[in-house]
């Protein structure tokens, strides 16, 4: 059973993520009209939105503490929000500003917030081994922290994931692998790239627990994650948890989705886990006013973060030379191009 306050917490997280991404989409598209140029506008580069994935982030992260580690893939916003990543600094990072989480060096696919042990990688499945490492550290130090690696269903054919399952299992590490199954890996439907419909069955081959939540249902995710995270925290080993989600948008902004049948998109949109959770809240006797309050709190938080981020200064171009090392080898390498010093137009 998931308590009412927990339902409300998930709902607020999910609504925050959805509203956040709707606003990001607006900001992203500004400056990319009428012709879409990926490097133009206030948010340049690729942008992978997670609308439709919210239940996975909220349902899992609900059971996590700040000292638990999360690694996220290229579609990280909903997970970051649910993990408690600083929303203002995350937004500033996405806008490429100096006060962003990484001072503008990372961008939306590379969000790092050590305060809540959150990290990303844009390389498919490559967040899995570091999550195993966080679990290893927890075990060696005898803490009860856990580590969670999020990845897409397209990533579970990757060596880094399969090797991580095995290592986590044989070392009995406190790790949960969360597969967000949105049926698509860019333009490739799941059945084109694997003969195994239930990704959680991969666990069987490595001797760890496998679970699958078959519907876009935050409550079911939360219940499954409670078990998986609890198992890890109690020292009883890793779990592979696959969660059905759906993709409401293109793979990235600008994706024409011409490969995707209309019916598939329509069907996906019918499965909105946020609406579903709203009905659950109502069934638990939460009144509309309370729901509206949660929504408007989310709205205000999103607006505040975006306004704040847009007010932040851009980094200096010279900042590019910093942070390669925390302990720069002075006198060994000069990163600055010599022509920038000696050339010039004068």
């Amino acid at each position: 059973m998931v308590a009412v306050n927990e339902l409300q917490e998930m709902y607020e997280n999910m609504v925050t993520a959805r509203q956040y991404e709707e606003r990001l989409q607006e900001e992203y598209m500004a400056g990319k009209q009428p012709a879409f140029d990926i490097s133009a506008g206030p948010i340049p580069g690729e942008l992978h939105l997670a609308a439709g994935h919210e239940a996975a982030g909220a349902g899992v992260c609900q059971h996590l503490r700040d000292d638990d580690t999360v690694t996220a893939p290229h579609r990280p916003h909903h997970i970051a929000i649910a993990k408690g990543v600083d929303l203002k600094r995350m937004t500033a990072e996405i806008f490429g500003r100096e006060s962003g989480l990484s001072g503008g060096k990372g961008g939306h696919m590379h969000l790092f917030d050590p305060d809540v042990n959150f990290a990303c990688s844009g390389i498919i499945a490559e967040g899995c081994p570091p999550a195993v490492g966080a679990g290893l550290a927890a075990k060696k130090r005898n803490t009860d922290s856990v580590a969670v690696a999020f990845l897409g269903e397209g990533a579970i054919d990757q060596g880094a994931f399969l090797e991580s399952l095995n290592l986590a299992s044989v070392q009995n590490l406190p790790v949960v692998f969360v597969v967000e199954d949105n049926d698509w890996a860019i333009s490739m439907p799941k059945e084109r790239v694997t003969d195994v419909e239930n990704g959680a069955q991969r666990a069987d081959g490595f001797g760890l627990q496998g679970m699958r939540v078959d519907a876009d249902d935050a409550v079911a995710v939360s219940e499954a994650a409670r078990e998986a995270v609890g198992r890890a925290r109690d020292g009883n080993g890793p779990t592979l948890l696959e969660v059905q989600v759906h993709r409401r948008m293109g793979h990235f902004m600008g994706d024409p989705e011409s490969y995707r049948p209309d019916e598939d998109k329509d069907a996906a949109e019918q499965r909105d886990s946020i609406e579903r959770l709203e009905s659950d809240l109502q069934a638990h006797g939460v009144d509309d006013e309370t729901i509206d309050d949660l929504r408007s709190r989310a709205h205000d938080r999103v607006e505040e973060a975006i306004e704040w981020a847009k007010d932040q200064p851009e980094p200096e171009s010279e900042d590019a030379y910093e942070d390669v090392f925390v302990n720069p080898p002075s006198g060994v390498t000069d990163n600055e191009p010599s022509t920038a010093d000696t050339g010039g137009d004068d």
Binding site: G103, G104, K105, M188, T194, T339
Partner: protein, 348 residues
């Protein structure tokens, strides 16, 4: 020789111009029609037509058996290309971004690149590894690299980097027909993709018929008397832009487009330096232990008499940052090239 070729076959005479992606696809389609053993594997290469249009339209003509969407398992499918090639087929396998080579490098550098040598030449690996390269659109550290030097450094692979549609087609014909493994690196910014506008240069005239451009033939894209600028890929066009600006100040640069890193056409570079006495090497890869150092060394080895001054312009040794001001700082721009040319001349 390179110049000769251009006059014969390229450009205006062809009567039509193509984007680099169309030219590349045209060569692949031609080879696939001619030889049933040619096939293409990659992520999103079928219905999507390649994220960077590298296979646009091929699914319709050749079907899923030959234009194969494969799982996100680069080790498995790049390695499968190696194995099929050793069976005598002619696979083309795509890395969606060259940055992803890390997950599959063993198949590339220990298998694909070495099996010929380790077998004493009794085995060969006639495959093409295609890969999108390059930055300039704020895709940050894991999606913006060129890694030219990495591939060129490791023995056993031929490394091709086209800068125009004309070159892209001729080099692709050659790549598929070559009996050795070829890494074909196409710059995203040059492909002519709607959402990633290309500069003016890469769209060129392209003959309808097939033709090959031999590997190891650098192309003088602009003749000039004062300074030799050796470069490749996107930076050919940035160098040509710099040339136009410099010409206004009476500085006449020669732009040498390497077209292939392996084999490297040292003769064309040395001839040009013998004429100008000034060498500037421009690269979109990291500065240290890379293309710029190699080109300069290859000139130095031939004797330093001709060489009065050397400059290099490359990415500093930092990962590529996301935010615009920082990415613009590290990726060499037209002004950086012009500044290096002036520095080589001792202008202050």
């Amino acid at each position: 020789m390179a110049q000769q070729e251009k006059d014969d076959a390229s450009g205006q005479q062809a009567g039509r111009s193509l984007t680099m992606s169309r030219a590349m696809v045209e060569a692949i389609a031609h080879e696939m029609r001619a030889d049933d053993e040619v096939f293409y594997m990659g992520e999103d290469v079928a219905d999507y037509g390649g994220i960077f249009d590298s296979t646009e339209g091929l699914l319709e003509e050749f079907g899923r058996d030959r234009i194969m969407d494969v799982p996100i398992s680069e080790t498995a499918y790049l390695g499968a290309a190696v194995g099929a090639a050793q069976e005598g087929m002619r696979p083309i396998a795509e890395l969606m971004f060259v940055d992803f080579f890390g997950v599959a490098m063993d198949q590339i550098y220990n298998q694909m690149a070495k099996n010929t040598y380790m077998s004493g030449g009794s085995v060969n690996v006639p495959m093409v590894l295609t890969a999108a390269v390059g930055g300039t659109y704020n895709d940050a550290a894991q999606h913006s690299q060129t890694l030219y030097g990495t591939f060129a450094h490791l023995p056993g692979m031929k490394v091709v980097v086209p800068s125009t549609a004309y070159d892209a087609k001729g080099l692709m014909h050659n790549a598929i027909r070559d009996d050795d493994p070829v890494v074909y690196m196409f710059h995203k910014r040059l492909m002519g993709i709607g959402w990633l506008p290309a500069p003016d240069g890469p769209k060129t005239g392209v003959p309808e018929d097939d033709y090959t451009i031999p590997f190891g033939s650098a192309d003088v894209k602009r003749e000039g008397a004062d300074v030799t600028v050796v470069t490749l890929g996107l930076h050919v066009h940035r160098a040509l832009e710099a040339a136009a600006d410099l010409a206004d100040d009476g500085i006449d640069i020669e732009v040498v487009d390497l077209r292939t890193l392996v084999p490297l056409d040292t003769d064309t570079i040395r001839d040009s330096v013998a004429k100008t006495g000034h060498l500037v090497v421009v690269d979109e890869d990291y500065r240290s232990y890379g293309v710029t150092g190699e080109i300069i060394a290859s000139v130095a080895e031939a004797g330093l008499d001709d060489l009065e001054a050397v400059e290099r312009v490359a990415l500093p040794d930092v990962p590529i940052p996301y935010a615009r001001p920082m990415e613009d700082e590290v990726v060499p721009g037209t002004e950086d090239i012009a500044a290096a040319v002036r520095a080589a001349r001792g202008d202050e």
